[in-house]
Amino acid sequence: MNNVIETNSLTKKYGKNTVVNSINLHVNKGKIYGLLGRNGAGKTSTMKMILGLSSVTGGEVKLFGSSVKGNQREVYTRIGSIIETPGFYPNLTGTENLNIFARLRGTTKINAVKDALKTVGLPYGDKKHFSSYSLGMKQRLGIANALLNDPELLILDEPTNGLDPIGIAELREVFQKLCSEQGKTILISSHILSEIALIADDIGIIHQGNLLEESSMKQLEQNNEKYIHVCVSSLSAATQTLERQLDIKNYSVEADKSLRIYDTHIAPIDLNKALVMADCGVSTIQMCQDNLEDYFKKITGGVGIA
């Protein structure tokens, strides 16, 4: 797989406190990677280390297939980012602020600032100072700044903070287009699971500094789709009944020797009857479906997203 971001045992410590513990992240080219975690899980710390804003205590960051060390300027010009609440000069307008950052980046594309502002729905050349912007406008300006130099990789730390539902939906479309039409890679962090579920191709779940899981959304959806959960006395009898008698092949055997049957066209009552008639005792039979939040709770062992 062509990894745009790859971390090997990435670690960050402040004194004795480990905020990021040996994380191995893999962000594939042209995909949207959702980094999920509660507040304080280590999402922003991880992103800061990737961007060189924060020193690395241990491990390595590779961007575009090469180590960042000694290569910073060449690598970081290909990245656009928004970290925490975006910071701009309060006495200047949005356009003036972006002109400054375009100059810093050495952006040569004509109308780069205008195009970036248009993408996020902010006016070009207006007289409103940044200090008068609403939270949503500030966030949009941050995204515009990230898009200024037409980067290959976007690293976005909770970019929809402060946006209303329409604004969130609009930005979701923007990100999806950037990925599907322009082949950009996006690493996006959030604690709004529903948003990530709509947008991400891959996800990583980070909890107390540890990357607990990395998975594609397809795999996750399979894990989360509806299924009939069955606990039986004889696994072999049950699987034979499923395959030969009921022609059900889409099932999995769990570690606790229970069955998850994803072919949910069969009614549980009929399934129960078939298993019992095959001398297979059924102790539990129920329809289930995990949503992403349930899955997240299961993985983190917590009480849900903060």
Binding site: L53, T77, P86, G87, F88, E96, R103, L104
Partner: protein
Amino acid sequence: MHNTISAEFMKIQKNKIFLVCSIIVIASAAVIVIKDLFFIEPPDDYQSWIMNSYVVTTLILGIMSGFVLTFLIQREYEDKTIINVLTAPTSRFRFLMSKLVIWFLWYAGVLLAIEVIYLIGGFLIYQGQFGFEGAKILVISLTKSHMLRFIATIPLLWIAILQKKIFYPSIMAALVFTGIEMTASNMPVQAGIVIPWSAVPLVGIYDVPFPYNTIGIVSIILTSIIGFALSYTSFRMQDQ
């Protein structure tokens, strides 16, 4: 580097701190001239007048310079623009150098304005006396001493980096440096010449002889090199 410095100029547009600090320094020079021209009997010789002017300039320019540098650094932390600047990307070295350049350009510009005002004042107050010789002494002594002073106060950059959003430590340090400079004439030369901030007037205005002038210049230059090195090291190690 050109882009980084150019961006710094763009940042200070519409900025009131720069304007206010410049006005205060330039106005203080103008007040001295007006006072001696119209209200108070000036010293008999222009050399004493130049010395008095230096003392006032030292005080006001020293403090305002501290304000300007503090503002240049502190606003980036306060407004959190430092994250956007560093991810542009801008190297930490270029960031510090661009701040140093802008600070120096402000300092040099204001110093030039002060010297023009004092030149005009010298010619008006000491008509027939001041002449080319007086002008030469004024320009050389003020330029030499204030340029040495700028170099000696580069450690303020380190303090500004360490303090991040807090405003007062670097201002206090600027006051301390200025205070030490102003007490130079009351110190024994052997002690004063080693301390970089008291070495400034000893070398720049009082023109101490060899080897004191060499020791003073070395002390000033070493302080600036160490100050910048500490600034860069601290900034590099700093998590944003």
